[in-house]
Symmetry: C2
Subunit: 310 residues, 2 copies
Amino acid sequence: MNEFELIARLTRSLPTNESVVVGPGDDCAVIECGNVSRQLLFKTDAVVEGIHFNTDTPPEQIGHKALARCLSDIAAMAGTPTAALVTIALPKNFDSKVVERIYAGMNVLAQRHGVAIVGGETTTNPERLLISISLLGSVPRGKAVLRSGAKVGDVIFVTGELGGSLAGKHLDFEPRLAEAIWLAETFPVHAMMDVSDGLAGDLRHILNASGVGAELLKSAVPISRAAKVNAKRGDAAKPAFVAALTDGEDFELLFTVSSKDAVPLLDAWKKQFLNIKLSCIGRIVSGEGIRLRDQTGIRPLQAHGYVHFS
Amino acid sequence: MNEFELIARLTRSLPTNESVVVGPGDDCAVIECGNVSRQLLFKTDAVVEGIHFNTDTPPEQIGHKALARCLSDIAAMAGTPTAALVTIALPKNFDSKVVERIYAGMNVLAQRHGVAIVGGETTTNPERLLISISLLGSVPRGKAVLRSGAKVGDVIFVTGELGGSLAGKHLDFEPRLAEAIWLAETFPVHAMMDVSDGLAGDLRHILNASGVGAELLKSAVPISRAAKVNAKRGDAAKPAFVAALTDGEDFELLFTVSSKDAVPLLDAWKKQFLNIKLSCIGRIVSGEGIRLRDQTGIRPLQAHGYVHFS
């Protein structure tokens, strides 16, 4: 049983109540709180030493990344973050100065996005540092953008560039909060999520939740400079396009809109966000799974996102 | 720098915003959500293998304890829990059946208290299991019972019995949610918290937050059977009264009310909760710190809760 199968099994029988609007399976849970105009967003995310960062990662960047990942999930619902709780599990003989620097990195990011840090706790995890962030946000009533709203004929967009995030971006990316709110206020966005596990895997989450398929245009997928540089490192390196599909930790917005909105959206985006790329990478089709189109034709993308190109 | 000093230092400069009613330092944060009659409670808590449970602890009890600790913090504010997110960091080669049993333990408790489990995540923590729970709740507007409301002349109460929790209670205790709500609805409770670090240490949190001192009546402190059994194990064992003051993990309610409410409260409690002890253990006095009264007189309790009795 892999992680996704286990989660699917666990979430089948979870207790629920009347406050739950959206439960497990989207970027955030959506919860009623008795506010007539807004609903709550609720999200948790953890980073672990040796997996999401290393012993030599500057503590400020660890703090930044821990909070930014959660903020990116609020962005994925077109929400506004409100308040965070921070749990830090510290290894033995941990230097308190390092904890202060982790908080310094979080605080700067929190302040920039108007997020309060309202508490948390420290506990012990003898072998490695682990930080778990819990985040509350809100969204206009009924306006949370879910993964399940993609429709046949929609156009698929992605912000920024993909792949090679481990070269640095994964530690200092800026969550796309303002962009997501602008998008949802300006156009009817049908489905949205943030790209954290790689475009190929994450697009499948939208497709499965929406009961549709997708056709990606290979030449349209925006490949990061880091992915291209990595690809030139030798024969064993991942091709840049494969990196863009599978590297993960991009924390860009992946979303679909009606095809009639595609050109107006691109025009309006360029005026609004001069320095952030927006790419139309394909369209939603009937059926399931992802097909990839290039000069040579169309072929299905492998199930787990990895593609074997000659 | 110890844990409390570090937290004090970190929380001095945390970002805040207008939604924050109560920030770090109480059992839960209190947050505005635009509901005219209620406010949100927000709490996170983690349990770690080898610290809060062992490798041979039944997984159902691990799940129970992880959620129950958070629920106890909601109780400490006289709140109602709403929705939880569960982060499980799994060691290598972890059996998915164990994860299912952890969830089974959580689900039963969540269901009993009407709590929805709305998602979470699994991640990797190679050496040991760690579970972090994030919990949302709510409380009538302005009615969260804080640690800071104790007044000189108040009577101090504690539910249940204290000490020796590690003999078993820490794994299967029932959070005092119904009791706390009944208390706050029936009497003006001035200050409340749950006893998680031991009566001596936790009472000090109320005293410091309220700017007052306390006089405890030694003979009135309810000592658990487990603490008494432990004390008989030999000369090296902790005396039962010291265990009741310092063992921790009791998860009982510690609260103060006006002295005029003390007798009516005891009477009403006995009718409402037949099987749960309620003890009047002392009173709030001016000054600071805890003094202990027994047949021989009054003496100050040591700073960190541990008392050297002959």
